[in-house]
């Protein structure tokens, strides 16, 4: 399988490291993801952490956890400066699994959307 282009995963607390470890556990192919946390960081610190991760990895894609989150705000500001940078927010494990396994970004996003389901309890016969 060809190596996936690098992508940043950024979010609150241990979210990024946790979800990346979950991708590794499921697929063994989490090497393309670089986790970034906003913990303890002011907006300028989040901006700097994302810039550093992008520069070191060569990533052109940032996944973030929450639309209103400070990582998303920082990522969108970076994308304003650099229109080639893609930001996906509201990321869930199925999206990252699909990306790691070779899906293009729109398909990976769709995988995340489709995976969210309300599982009704089975009715007694």
């Amino acid at each position: 399988m060809s190596e996936r282009p690098a992508a940043i995963v950024a979010g609150h607390g241990g979210f990024a490291a946790g979800i990346v470890s979950a991708v590794e556990q499921v697929t063994g192919m989490a090497g393309c993801f670089v986790p970034v946390t906003n913990a303890g960081l002011a907006p300028a610190g989040i901006d700097e952490a994302l810039r550093r991760a992008l520069a070191e990895s060569g990533a052109r894609l940032i996944f973030t956890d929450l639309p209103a989150g400070s990582c998303t705000m920082a990522a969108r500001r970076l994308a304003k400066e650099d229109p080639g940078l893609v930001v996906v927010t509201g990321v869930a494990l199925p999206t990252l699994l699909a990306y790691a396994c070779g899906s293009a970004v729109p398909e990976a996003v769709e995988s995340g959307r489709k995976a969210m389901q309300l599982l009704e309890a089975p009715r007694a016969p």
Binding site: G40, L41, A42, A44, G45, A68, G69, T72, R77
Partner: protein, 163 residues
């Protein structure tokens, strides 16, 4: 509960505000007070994008916020006013002396600041300015999320997050 939460938070509108406070406290509107954001349509759109449609966001400079405060206070929905730093809140309080309580919700690490709480880092000057706010009669507390107990200014400056 009308507009009674005046929060200093360097991240302004973010997850803790929209979800952490917004959902349990049924916040109906946010007032973001920042002179730079008030001049930038793009920044306003950025902040608006992260807020659910049922929550209104108003953008103000310090001057316009002080002018519109009675209007915000008359709103029957629960509201929160945010500034990104102590200086902005100080200038607002100077123009709106009926602000009697301010919460430090998040001032994060940068060079020159020392850790006081997990979510509050302060320079000596910032500490002095918080004390000055308290000396004007403003109750200054620290609280990041609603489930945490508010800490007094003394506890905050001692770095005592246990209370």
């Amino acid at each position: 509960m009308p507009l009674d939460h005046f929060r200093i938070d360097d991240r302004l509108i973010h997850g803790q505000v929209v979800v952490g406070w917004g959902q349990p406290c049924a916040i109906g509107f946010l007032v973001l007070v920042d002179d730079e954001v008030a001049r930038s349509d793009w920044e306003q759109e950025l902040y608006r994008m992260g807020v659910p449609p049922e929550m209104d966001v108003y953008f103000d400079s310090v001057e316009s916020a002080a002018r519109r405060l009675p209007e915000y206070r008359a709103d029957r929905r629960c509201g929160m006013l945010l500034t990104g730093d102590i200086d902005t809140m100080e200038r607002l309080v100077a123009r709106a002396p009926d602000i009697t309580a301010v919460t430090v919700g998040g001032i994060h690490h940068k060079a020159g600041r020392a850790a006081r709480l997990r979510y509050v880092f302060l320079t000596p000057d910032e500490e002095a300015r918080l004390r000055a706010l308290a000396e004007r009669g403003v109750t200054v507390t620290a609280q990041d999320v609603p489930s945490a107990s508010p800490l007094s200014l003394d506890a905050l400056l001692r770095g005592d997050g246990s209370g």
